[in-house]
Symmetry: C2
Subunit: 447 residues, 2 copies
């Protein structure tokens, strides 16, 4: 059973509820929406990502012989339910925000309308697929903003949480504007440019650092990036100059430890004095958007940044406060009112408005069947019908360009790295009425 | 190409270095070790986990036709290197700490000895596999400690970072002492007990909460857990009592929002007054070891905890500060001296000593060929030879029992949740001599 495809990668309660829904014939259309409850700390926006994988999963999820056999021997379910699962496939309709679009709390990132048991079962994996890529794309977009045109590369595979996370982190950071990844398989699968330098172990495998540099330069005459901090960073830079004088020229050096800003200044001076003005300085080691922004603001002579752990694990807060909630059943709005976790009811759409300069001025969140505002652009698009995608997956560079435009259109205050002001999201009158209606339907007010 | 098996799930520089090693005939045996540089915040120990997956990956990693074709068309490598990769397999020897063992910084979790290019290539995926499970097992062991015998269950699949992370989080939390997981596929693949309750959407799909409870109790007469916070927690508890009086008895109720301690007291009172002393109270929602410990210390009447996001993402710090470093090449010790990232050189072993009461008194970190101390137990075991595992994978319950014993043997101060004192790790004289020798070999002192 392949965890990336099996519908058993879900919470047990989904199956328990499904059995009950089928037994009671509760198969009317239901609409669920996945939305953020809150922005991550210090973030003024989110960048929606992961839709391609979500649609692929929805299209192909099936209970195969191995799944059915395990469910049967588990003794947890009745045979009639297992028969039903043998034919199960997702037949629903999906509306979603195109990947690479800026999005705010309460706005649906994906909206699933399907017979209740189908829309329910897919919850766990849809959240699992969408929340992580959205989280990484958001952090990565902030890094790109902070780097102000300097090169930024994903180095984080080793500390991502497993194989799929490593792949998704490479994909999400690239669509958010990173220039490349070190993860080879992400190059092979997604067409992302791959790049790399050398590890400390390469240096250590030679008796002398000089010898290691020389060997690497000989093997990669035009594009060698030398890691110069294994023993002493400035002494390493001196060797780079000495080797250039022998005709072995590095394209860049990499710093990976100590005070990166301080070393960058010293190394730049050594390289320049040695006539190596064109040799770039790359830096890595525990970087995030804040560190990049600080170095850029201070004019530190670093030409490119390798970011790993803190972006690939979204370390500042490694989860998105999001939910996948039933919004309508049998065409009627529904909502829960749990303390601190209430939400707007009904099947939604939202519209984005821009000012005369083309900046986003605000979003209106309303019901899908509302008359659209004349100045607002509807953001959710229909992407799947009867469980089949309506178009081929987008090219990653198309998404990357969408991200660039979507972020550039945000007000500067919304893009602030430290204390941003998100774009206002205003509920329509119809949305407020639907919330009251939902409370009436479920008898909340009468209790 | 399956990300969970493909050797292309690696950093590009591994392949670049490999090509150079093969070209220069640098294929002598090298020893690399993976170790933690620091403990995660507030942690007094780590629990080693993920070895089974690491060994499986090492045994099966191959460059298949798809991998070779992509590498060829990438134009990044020479044909001779690709021919070499076509026959590549890991042929090395591995020593490791059995899963479920408490471990401290600088102590090897896994030690790989193989021809340099093989030991080098496996770095990225070994770190990716071992650091995440070790991180989750560590957090989960702390939760188990905090829960003092109350039931703890993994609910975190939806916010884990992708499919493999969800599976590994279920595995690592179970081997660390969790009682069950909600992730069905982890039950199917690893034999972990699976459990579940119901979601808010189930309640919302019915016009009345009472109707939803009734439907669920009828479908699961003996084991229904009712989620009672959708509208009003105490009103939900009243309904549970009313239904019991009609003969429909819930086995437990679940609280998932608001002040869990406060609601638990009120709900316990309502249930007890309704004659439901045996109905358990389960709680979930943003819990971690600190929240569990605080509720247990305050005598909050909660019988079981569902933990998700904060454990499955190791949210307090979602990465392990660890490294996989070259320790010896051509039988000689090596080490890097980068600022803040230096390490002990040489191929290691470590020994654990216990006091008269059976408590761990300290570890000694030394070289593998040192005479063992008479009172110390050697911790690293040989688990793989010529790229083949030396024994069948352990049963997860065997590992779980090892974790229990390993944590119980730690001093109370080391298990403190807030300000622990780790067990002291003392380097042997031979280890100190090896570090000096490594610096001499790589010319560090003479620069």
């Amino acid at each position: 059973m392949d965890p990336m495809r099996s519908p058993l990668l879900t919470d047990l309660y989904q199956l328990t509820m499904l059995e009950s829904y089928y037994e009671r014939g509760m198969v009317a259309p239901a609409t669920f929406e996945l939305y953020a409850r809150k922005l991550p700390p210090h973030c003024g926006y989110l960048v929606a990502a992961g839709l391609a994988q979500a649609l692929e999963w929805l299209e192909h999820a099936r209970f195969g012989p191995d799944e059915l056999e395990w469910l049967e021997q588990s003794g947890l379910f009745k045979p009639a339910f297992l028969d039903r699962l043998a034919d199960w496939r997702f037949t629903g309709e999906v509306h979603a925000l195109p990947e690479g679009t800026a999005v705010f709390p309460d706005e649906p990132i994906i909206q699933v309308t399907a017979p209740l048991p189908e829309a329910q079962l897919v919850e766990s994996r849809l959240m699992n697929l969408l929340q992580f890529q959205t989280l990484v794309a958001t952090r990565a977009a902030r890094v790109v903003d902070a780097a102000q045109g300097r090169r930024v590369v994903d180095f984080g595979m080793r500390r991502a949480h497993g194989a799929e996370a490593a792949m998704f982190a490479a994909r999400a950071s690239y669509l958010a504007g990173f220039d490349a990844t070190a993860t080879v398989l992400a190059g092979a699968e997604y067409g992302i440019p791959v790049t790399g330098t050398m590890a400390h172990s390469y240096i250590l495998a030679f008796a002398e650092e000089m010898e290691a540099f020389k060997a690497f330069l000989e093997a990669h005459p035009d594009k060698a990036v030398l890691l110069i901090d294994t023993y002493d960073t400035e002494a390493g830079a001196d060797k780079v100059v000495a080797l250039a004088q022998q005709g072995l020229k590095a394209s860049a050096v990499r710093l990976d430890s100590g005070d990166l800003a301080d070393h960058a200044h010293r190394v730049r001076r050594i390289l320049d004095q040695g006539g190596l003005q064109e040799t770039l300085i790359l830096a890595s080691g525990d970087l995030d958007e804040y560190a990049v922004a600080a170095m850029v603001a201070a004019g530190v002579p670093i030409d490119g940044f390798g970011l790993g752990t803190r972006i690939d694990t979204a370390a500042e807060q490694p989860f998105l406060e999001c939910a996948y909630k039933l919004m309508a059943y049998e065409e009627l709005p529904r909502r829960k009112r749990s303390e601190g976790k209430g939400h707007w009811a009904g099947r939604k759409q939202f519209w984005r408005s821009h000012d005369a300069q083309g900046r986003v001025s605000g979003d209106r969140l309303g019901l899908a069947d509302e008359q659209p505002a004349p100045d607002g652009q509807p953001m959710l698009e229909r992407v799947m019908l009867d469980g089949r995608p309506l178009q081929a997956p987008e090219h990653l560079d198309t998404i990357r360009e969408r991200t660039r435009k979507s972020i550039q259109a945000l007000p500067a205050l919304c893009r602030d790295l430290h204390d941003p002001t998100p774009v206002p999201v205003t509920p329509t009158r119809a949305l407020k009425a639907a919330a009251r209606e939902a409370d009436r339907i479920t008898g909340y007010c009468s209790e």
